[in-house]
Symmetry: C2
Subunit: 147 residues, 2 copies
């Protein structure tokens, strides 16, 4: 069997090209789409929670949030009960982009799964979910302090 | 059904964290792993061929190759029959990294597919391959001049 990740990563990169062609907003690039979706779904998350939810390291979260704040897409406030926790909120500007980001994500999901029978899709998604659990466990075991 | 891409992209990002923890070579980051694998598999490919094979845009290819050349991992030569085609070759330094990059990729593939029955994996891979075809077709149709 060919390597799963080679194919999986290609689909992910094609999606990135697709998004870049579709979304034209001031400074929002394909690599920010996940941030838009996650921040709007969980307003008031801490930076650490965003890193865990998105599965990237903290330094990338910090760098991306600095950029999004500079462009006016988010605000950050210290948690009133624990000043070290920095909470992230979407601005009106980010909320205005959200419907388009969601529509592009939906369109891509439909595009890649069209013509695939429901029973095969069901097995596919079941396997994919188990792979996600293994993937997250593998990284959390080894990289907690860096996440 | 939850969105396929959300799960798929999380697995991809976990792999990136895994690689970053594992591979320690001068300047080689997780985002370069695919370049290492593809350039070593296809020495003498043009920059445009690499963009198509990896499924990223030409400007990202150019930027990454500039970096890898600066770090001594590749050399670039104009095609003797068509001076506008720039061909990319791995150096000894890149070839020395290849076994480790391959081993990490193999380890990750095994890690995420362990405990999944062979018949389910077979359906999974069949669906994933069809998704890849749809993904590539969608991007190629719309973005030829930019790829």
């Amino acid at each position: 069997m060919p390597t799963i990740m080679k194919t999986l990563n290609r689909i992910s990169r094609c999606q990135s090209l697709f998004r870049n062609e579709r979304l034209q907003h001031d400074g929002i690039l394909s690599c920010h789409h996940t941030f838009v979706l996650v921040i709007c779904r969980n307003p008031g998350s801490s930076q650490d929670e965003l890193a865990r939810e998105i599965c990237i390291n903290k330094s990338t979260v910090t760098r991306t949030l600095n950029y999004l704040e500079e462009k006016g897409y988010i605000t950050r406030r210290a948690d009133s009960e624990d000043k070290r926790r920095i909470l992230v909120y979407p601005t009106e500007k980010m909320l205005a982009v959200l419907p388009e980001v969601r529509a592009i994500a939906r369109e891509w999901n439909e595009l890649i799964s069209k013509d695939i029978p429901e029973d095969e899709l069901s097995v596919f998604y079941s396997v994919l979910s188990r792979m996600e659990l293994s993937a997250k466990a593998a990284v959390e075991c080894r990289g907690d302090e860096d996440r």
